[in-house]
Assembly symmetry: C2
Homo-oligomer: 418 residues x 2
């Protein structure tokens, strides 16, 4: 069968399965996830055998160590996949919730009820655990899911898919509810992205190249996250010890992730005191600082920051530092260079805290807390399918609820329109 | 300036204006809309002069009467535009609402707050009143708006734009908040659709050709509505008089709109009684019926329905009729042929009414009411910017709230991540 027809047939069967999934009870969906978790753990050996095939090929192809690590399914990671499925099973089911209901003057009652989106396509790169994590979130929210991982994880993804699909069959549910696209043909993604009649949402997870490719080629709505250039603004009325703790945590606790601090903005009135303080503790943690002219007046040894530094998502132990004249200048800097991901103010000025929350329209805005909390689990969503830095449908960390939409339900008693 | 640069400059200025708009008080936004309404009414003569230019050109180009009618700005329609702006001003402001807030175990409070989307592009066809209607809804929800109407309404749209923008200037607000693209170059839309860094949402309003063009060419998220193939299922336990009233209203009260009834499904056990009844009243209203084999066994004179009839959005006094064996068969028909717009069941069976509401996942599902209520005003949204038959972001009639998104706000007291 031609690739185009193959992808279309797969998507049509997913759409058919999605109608059944939409009406499964929470109990059945939870049981499905618990049984999938058990099946993953029981299959540890065969999963590792499949994974070793991928690892051997990757080594032959000269994959770098960090990537090889991501690709590896250790015993711990396999348990992690199973536990992830159990955690999602334990979350409240968003489907069916009637978020509001009101009465119209003519007597009809109008409500809005959560329903699954339908069919969700996930396009991702090397980590094979995404296969189980994304499947769990999609199925729990009543959606069918089409998974397309990276070619380097093909054997691992196929093996995970076989295990999870067997559980569907055991429970007399259609295997089409969960499909793992394992054809090595790189055009498979391109074909999937054309199927707007069958697939309701595409979530790309991976590097900027993947995300730009998907956005450019998709006729299906895409929820995406380009990068996180997160700012922390230390105001003149900040508790400097608190500011130090927050900035240090945001930068060094895990520097390689999108909610790590990238640019520190400091009010000029406390810069002479705060900058040496934070420079010292950052230095002790191995962080390289790059400063604006004002910062280098205070610490001449700082590496000069350039225009590129204000735009940089370092994902590394590097921090850009700028001294600002005012809150307004900090806000303007964030508007010009921010990525709409997460911004933090550290201040004890109540009025200013409220202005910051109000005026900064990034997906997450925080007062007196580390930007590292910008994460679905940390914010209390239970689990995270991704982070959106575009505003349609979802903005910020996305949980189960973001995999649903709302229909209108109308209860009448014979009303007609005048 | 090249068209590409011109569109980009326009979108950048809209984005800058959107930051200011996002923080305007409801009072200022309402005053803006009331003053725009007054300005529109005061400018009736000049609007009609501009409109006459469009009408003369359209006549020379041989535009058909129905289209000429849509294009005409009568005195009544100008008052209608002004009243529309006043109605939107009187609606509650969705911006700023904190829809939920919760406490995390570590003491941070997490909430979700409504903010404007940013910059909204509206691509529409001949009706010039869309210029004022869409501008009102976008501005009230704190968004900047870029309006691109049809070339046949260019002079009318330009005139409306000048009037509305003058009010922005009078109130010391940036004109860039409301931009009317009047270049006759047809590539303007294509260029706008590439500006994903500046424009947050595109809403096309018009025929299927326009909508398909926009979807195919846009890198910006699009909320769209292809067509409305609305079904009413008359169950064996329906009150037949109620069913007759509802079906008649849904078909003939305004047949040319997307929420009009297109296919009637009748349970076989009441078909022999109900079909002659509804055929008679439809006939008296000038409706042509096209029936399945079962329907023609009851009324042999019916025109046979073909596969195309089940897919048809007639927008006319034509109705497809099918006799079904069961609720399940009706549901299957809706799943196969529906457009996810609006479906109605007429029944007095409580259990079945609940199954229908639960199992049919069109954007609006109704019990015992006319599908003609599937409209933002009728459902109580206050005003309507469009109807979405895709599920991302909005599903069904869209009001002011659908022109917003939600950011996370986090209130901490020095928390850092372990």
């Amino acid at each position: 069968m031609a690739l185009r027809d193959e992808m279309k047939a797969l998507a049509i069967s997913a759409q058919q399965a999605s109608r059944l999934l939409a009406n499964l009870s929470s109990e059945v969906k939870n049981q499905l996830l618990y049984r999938m978790a058990n099946a993953i753990e029981a299959a540890e050996q065969s999963l590792q055998l499949a994974n070793q095939k991928d690892l051997r090929l990757a080594e032959q192809n000269g994959m770098v160590a960090a990537m090889l690590d991501r690709l590896t399914l250790t015993s711990e990671r396999i348990t992690g996949m199973a536990d992830g499925l159990r955690e999602v099973a334990a979350l409240p089911d968003p489907v069916g919730e009637i978020t509001r209901m009101w009465l119209r003057p003519n007597g009809i009652k109008v409500g809005r009820q959560r329903i699954p989106l339908g069919v969700i396509g996930i396009i991702y790169e090397s980590r094979p655990n995404v296969t189980a994590d994304a499947a769990g979130l999609c199925l729990k929210s009543g959606n069918a899911v089409i998974l397309r991982g990276g070619s380097e994880a093909l054997n691992s993804n196929r093996a995970i898919g076989i295990i999870l699909r067997q559980v569907l069959t055991d429970m007399e549910l259609p295997q089409a509810a969960l499909q793992v696209v394992v054809t090595p043909d790189r055009n498979a993604v391109r074909e999937l992205l054309q199927l707007e009649e069958q697939i309701d949402l595409i979530i790309p997870r991976g590097g900027e190249g993947l995300i730009r490719f998907v956005t450019k080629n998709s006729r299906i709505p895409v929820i995406k996250h380009y990068k996180g250039v997160c700012h922390t603004y230390v105001d003149e009325h900040a508790d400097l010890k608190m500011a130090e703790d927050i900035c240090l945590n945001a930068k060094v606790q895990r520097p390689g992730v999108c909610n790590a601090l990238e640019t520190l903005l400091i009010h000029r009135d406390i810069a002479a005191e705060f900058l040496p303080l934070i420079a010292k503790s950052m230095g002790e943690s191995g962080v390289e600082l790059r400063g604006c002219v004002g910062a280098r007046l205070i610490i001449p040894a700082l590496i000069p920051a350039t225009e590129e530094d204000w735009q940089a998502e370092y994902l590394d132990l590097i921090l850009a530092v700028r001294i600002v004249d005012s809150y307004e200048q900090a806000r303007e800097h964030i508007e010009n260079y921010g990525s709409l991901h997460t911004e933090v103010i550290v201040t004890n000025d109540y009025h200013l805290s409220q202005r910051f929350l109000q005026e900064i329209n990034s997906s997450v805005v925080m007062v007196n807390a580390s930007s590292r909390f910008s994460d679905g689990n940390q914010l209390g969503l239970g689990a995270e399918i991704g982070i959106s830095t575009t505003k349609l449908h979802s903005f910020g960390p996305m949980g189960l609820e973001d995999l649903t939409t709302r229909k209108f339900v109308v209860l009448g008693d014979g009303q007609i329109r005048e």
